[in-house]
Amino acid sequence: MVNQREERPLDELGVLKAPPRSEERRRAARGRILAAAAPLLQRRRRPASYWEVLAGWARPGLAAASIALLLLAAALQFTGNGEETVAPVPLDEVLATSDAGRVPALLVAINEPDADAVVAAALTGNGR
């Protein structure tokens, strides 16, 4: 297979190179650039508006919100479905008696009684 690539640069192309500039000319060009840039730089120094600040924070804000949502979702996933679990009231508590007589178990129960406790209290007449 013949290599079609022309690897040699043209020697004559050197005549198109830029002529060296004098130090004075370089300084003048630099001065012109900086003078023309002054209003643009000045504009950049003014205090940013409310919307510019808001726009500047939009991207990191969205990222932070996404991360927070992910963490929240993960926390919910690992702690169940988020509903509060009800501790069952032991039957002993329901059937407990005191010196002063029977105290309605459903009134003295610390936790909300479950269905079994309510049925037991009703059957023993200790629910009132």
Binding site: Q4, R5, E6, E7, R8, P9, L10, D11, E12, L13, G14, V15, L16, K17, A18, P19, R21, R26, A29, R30, R32, I33, L34, A36, A37, A38, L40, L41, Q42, R43, R44, R45
Partner: protein
């Protein structure tokens, strides 16, 4: 010529300083001194590249200035941490290609500057003819080929550097250069011996 290329590479290597992202950040906030440092780093090479396209010193200086101002206007579009150089040269090359088309007619009517000197008038005249021929041959190249040959053969950019500036694969860059050289040789032959 090889030494000139090495010099150009050294110049660009020096520009890739660690403090450049900080300079860019300061420019974003309107720091004149930081912008001046970027100008100091890139203006000479920018002028040389612009001259490669336009073959006119004043036009090249105007173009380099415009590229710096355009870079300042768009500095917020440069991704944080990205190098300034390739992005800036991309702006410069795009502006140069546009200006080249606009100025083509005017340049063709003028004798390029720097063609005469204190030396032998006959040699100067011959050199001027060669310059005209080469400038015409480069002008006749498609934009992408002209860009690669100017950056590589005139200004000593490497293929990876050109690939970054033009955002093209290195292989494409090499094939562009190969085609450009071949077309230049053929064009030059026709211009010299029509």
């Amino acid at each position: 010529m090889a030494r000139a290329m090495a010099g150009a590479n050294d110049q660009r290597d020096q520009t890739i300083d660690l403090d450049e992202p900080l300079l860019v950040e300061r420019v974003r906030r309107g720091d004149r001194e930081a912008f001046g440092k970027l100008v100091d780093r890139y203006s000479e090479q920018a002028f040389a590249v612009a001259y490669g396209f336009l073959q006119h010193a004043e036009d090249a200086e105007d173009l380099a200035q415009d590229a710096f101002l355009r870079a300042l206007e768009r500095i917020d579009r440069l991704d944080r941490g990205s190098p300034f150089g390739p992005w800036f040269y991309r702006l410069l090359v795009n502006a140069a290609l546009n200006r080249r088309k606009y100025l083509a007619r005017r340049r063709m009517e003028k004798i390029p500057e720097g063609t005469t000197g204190p030396g032998d008038p006959a040699a100067d005249a011959e050199r001027a003819v060669l310059r005209n021929c080469l400038a015409s041959a480069v002008d006749a190249l498609p934009d992408d080929l002209a860009t690669v040959v100017i950056l590589h053969d005139l200004e000593g950019f490497t293929h990876p550097e050109i690939a970054r500036v033009l955002e093209i694969p290195e292989g494409t860059c090499r094939s562009h250069l190969s085609r450009a050289r071949r077309m230049l040789r053929e064009g030059l032959k026709e211009l010299r011996h029509p």
